[in-house]
């Protein structure tokens, strides 16, 4: 357990003791079925059991169409589970809420608001004073390194910059879980590398629970403590792997490349074996 979570553990008092010990995100036998028409039903995901402790960074890796994005939408409460339950800190979710922030693959900044206003939009309903709201906005703008672009409109920003603001906006409310749905999927390789570094830094600074969906195995290893490997039709969890790498991490950390390579080939083998194409599908 991290030092930070130990201290919060004591500051919370007896009443909340159980909740802290409990998992932050718990999925129990989650099943999602889409009705295509009256006779055809599509099992998107099936038998999903995931447990995420507080301040853990979890990645979900799998081919496109394996239902990993649907999984995040279910946790966010944007879609309802067909069967099973999803708990956040011991409470079953019933719909979307500000305790679960989300970053999407597509650019979701509101184009009519500036960078600062976009981050401020998240704090619209919070009861903070005006001054502390402003301070928090500036704090996150500094963290994502966009101080000079504070008053720029999203239209004037590059794709990487927009995603940085989207991350800051999702974090501004200090959600219990941060859900990230392939946030760097639309970026070029160089920008993606820079964004991964930045995310590692921001995560070290803020330490929140993260569920990160990606199809990039290397990205998953670099960022996360644990990786859930999913396979498709129906989407289910094939394997759970721990990433035993020291933090703080960096792409340029030479020592970790050995472990990375081993893990990467292991995950790629699982994904390759599960590919329907080699079974004559």
């Amino acid at each position: 357990m991290h030092l930070k979570s130990v201290t919060t553990f004591f500051s919370l008092g007896k009443k909340n003791l159980n909740k802290v010990i409990n998992m932050c995100v718990t999925l129990k036998n989650v099943l999602k079925i889409y009705d295509i028409d009256d006779h055809n039903k599509l099992h998107v995901i099936q038998d999903i059991n995931i447990e995420v402790a507080k301040n853990e960074f979890i990645s979900i890796v799998g081919p496109s169409g394996c239902g990993k994005s649907t999984l995040l939408k279910l946790i966010a409460g944007l879609e309802e589970v067909t069967c099973g339950s999803i708990e956040i800190c011991g409470k079953i979710i019933t719909g979307p809420g500000s305790d679960r922030g989300m970053v999407f693959q597509s650019y979701t900044l509101f184009p009519w608001l500036t960078v600062a206003e976009n981050i401020g939009f998240a704090l619209k309903k919070s009861k903070l004073s005006k001054k502390s709201k402003k301070e928090r906005i500036l704090k996150y703008i500094a963290q994502i390194g966009l101080k000079e672009f504070k008053d720029a409109y999203p239209n004037q920003l590059s794709g990487g910059m927009r995603q940085r603001v989207a991350i800051a906006r999702a974090m501004a409310l200090k959600p219990k879980v941060l859900l990230m749905d392939e946030p760097f999927g639309a970026l070029d390789a160089q920008t993606r590398m820079f964004m991964q570094e930045l995310l590692l830094k921001i995560w070290d600074l803020n330490r929140t629970t993260v569920l990160f969906v990606t199809h990039d195995v290397e990205e998953a290893i670099l960022l996360s403590d644990r990786i859930y490997v999913m396979t498709s039709s129906p989407g289910r969890i094939k394997k759970v792997l721990n990433v035993n790498l020291d933090r703080p991490r960096s792409i340029f950390n030479a020592q970790m490349h050995d472990v990375t390579n081993k893990l990467e080939s292991k995950i790629l083998k699982i994904l390759y074996d599960e590919n329907p194409m080699i079974h004559g599908g």
């Binding site: 989300m102 999407f104 608001l113 939009f121 309903k125 409109y153």
Partner: protein
């Protein structure tokens, strides 16, 4: 060209080292500029290519002048009879006469008043209904069949009925403008609202906003530029239906002026009224376009 090519080497001999850099840079500049100018001249007829602003506007003025010249030629040479097409100068004389005795202002005032009120009534109904239809499938199902049926009934066909019900006053003009614009406007606003990216809604939910807050802060804000464009387009249609209503039964307005002029074969009055309508339409259009840039500065891609 010759001077430019021969001069630098002589300079190069006199001042070595430091002078060399300067000279190559200026030569590159010259070459670049030459290339640039040649390129620009060719690319006037490139598909989707931008042209300099002044050429863009000159092209529009050129065509207008050409048409006026043809008009002058046809009337002055007597190719077309004066009853059918008046001389440009006669139209100008009529313009001065009507502005002096105030008839033109009365007509413009009467027409603008009807347009504004008629279009406002239509918009006051179209805006909330269109937004509801765009957001909730239930409201779409409720209104769309009815709107689709009435939409295909030409507004012109309602003129006799509206006269029977409402007389020939301003209220009847409002009714015709309403029938002509509302049913299109409401569907356009529905589409504007529907085109808001779904991700904006999803993100707003995860930021803890409630349904009605999303409707107000996100959907409306996001669709507003498109709705503004819808306003611009529908007010143009309001013009058409107003003049139609005025042509049939009215005692003032630009349409009425045209109708009366036809009876007395005053072709110059007809042409003048048409021009006035064109200019008024242009002014409204530009007013909407300028206010668009002012209201939605974030739409502009700068830097």
């Amino acid at each position: 060209m010759k001077i430019r090519q021969t001069k630098p080497p002589s300079k190069d001999k006199t001042s070595e080292g430091g002078g060399f850099k300067q000279h190559t840079a200026s030569r590159h500049e010259v070459l670049y500029n030459n290339k640039f100018q040649i390129k620009r001249r060719i690319k006037l007829f490139e598909i989707y290519n931008d042209v300099p602003v002044h050429i863009y506007f000159l092209a529009g003025i050129f065509l207008m002048c050409l048409l006026i010249l043809i008009w002058i030629f046809l009337t002055e040479k007597g190719v077309v009879g004066e009853i059918f097409l008046p001389k440009p100068k006669d139209v100008f004389v009529e313009l001065f006469k009507e502005t002096k005795n105030g008839v033109l202002w009365i007509d413009i005032k009467a027409s603008c008043y009807r347009i504004l009120i008629g279009w406002l009534i239509s918009t006051i109904f179209a805006l909330p209904i269109g937004i509801l239809m765009g957001c909730f499938r239930l409201f779409e199902g409720l209104f769309e069949p009815l709107i689709d049926v009435i939409r295909y009934m030409p507004a012109v066909a309602f003129i006799p009925l509206t006269i029977l019900w409402l007389g020939v006053g301003d209220v009847q003009k409002f009714a015709i403008i309403f029938i002509g614009t509302f049913f299109q406007e409401v569907l356009m606003i529905m589409d504007n609202v529907k085109s808001v990216p779904r991700e904006y809604i999803h993100v707003s939910y995860t930021l803890g906003l409630k349904k009605w807050e999303i409707l107000w802060h996100v959907i409306l804000r996001s669709a507003l530029p498109k709705i503004w464009d819808t306003f611009r387009i529908t007010i143009g249609w309001a013009w058409t239906y107003l003049v139609l209503a005025e042509l049939v039964a009215a005692d003032s307005g630009l349409g009425y002026r045209i109708m009366r002029a036809q009876r007395f074969l005053q072709t110059d009055v007809i042409i003048l009224s048409l021009f006035v309508m064109g200019v008024l339409g242009l002014v409204t259009d530009y007013a909407f376009k300028i206010s668009y840039n002012f209201l939605f500065p974030w739409k502009k891609k700068s830097q």
